[in-house]
Amino acid sequence: MHELSVTESILEIATSHAIKAGATKVTHINLVIGRLSSIVDDSVQFYWETMSEGTLCAGSILTFHRLPAILHCTICQNDYQIEQELIPCPKCGSYQTTIIGGEEFYVDSIEIEKDPENN
């Protein structure tokens, strides 16, 4: 269970960018998480509600944009997705592969509100 420290980091990143942009409130936080990054959405959401209380991010909505894990077969050049367990290339059976997607783990953007006169 490392969702608590992950949630802390998300809050820290969102808050610092919100302050820089002169936000009065953060309404949305858009996360990009690859399938190979182990994180439980519900659990982050749970911590988020408590931790963001009293901050610029209070009441904001977390969106998890999940990207699939994609492997590239270096023998037959086939790109394929894996759901849970790692599997060899379904087309040629080769184990010679490179991971080309699924390890993303970042805050993509935030949506904020600010006073028009401070624009």
Binding site: H2, S5, I10, L36, S37, L86, Q96, I99, F105, I112
Partner: protein, 220 residues
Amino acid sequence: MVSTKVTVVEKILSTNDRLAGINRQNLSDHGVLGINLMASPGAGKTSFILETIKRMKVNYKIGVIEGDTAPVTIDADKITAAGMPAVQINTGGDCHLDASMVADGLNQLPLDLIDLLIVENVGNLICPAAWDLGTHLSLLVASIPEGDDKPYKYPNIYRGLNVLIINKVDLKPYVQFDMEYFRKGVEMLNPGLVTFAVSCRTGEGFDNWIEWLKHRISLK
């Protein structure tokens, strides 16, 4: 009130990664090679460290940071008994060490006197993979009784490794473990990974590992 979208694109663990960079610099400045040692519980992390110390203690000073989820000093006591400086870090139930905990540990160790630092991470195959501690090498101790399917089930931990130890090879006759299947999985995730098959009980395979490690330390 105006609504705006602000582009961020910042890695979630960027604060940890920055701290890890400072730890790495700190170790390098003192000429210390740092190893982040990971494994599932019971794979033989502490036994592996003790066996490594036993074979190197004449010419090398080895510091150990012991990560534990509870204030139990069993592992740290064993290292101290082996004559090496050890620091115990209690994560307070957390599933992994992070760079700031390791920074605390480094402050308590005589870095000027140490050639090698081994950080024994919390026994877990999932969480430690995400946290860079600021060591130079990541090492996983896998063991035969855990089964040959671990790379397929826990791909993340194999991704960032520099060294793989396959421990308890003396148990191979008693356990179903398809070495080829295991190695193929590792190869998919981390092609050409430096691997040593060892047994802490019989000492098998340790000569090669120690030779490799000494060479690696000499490069610092």
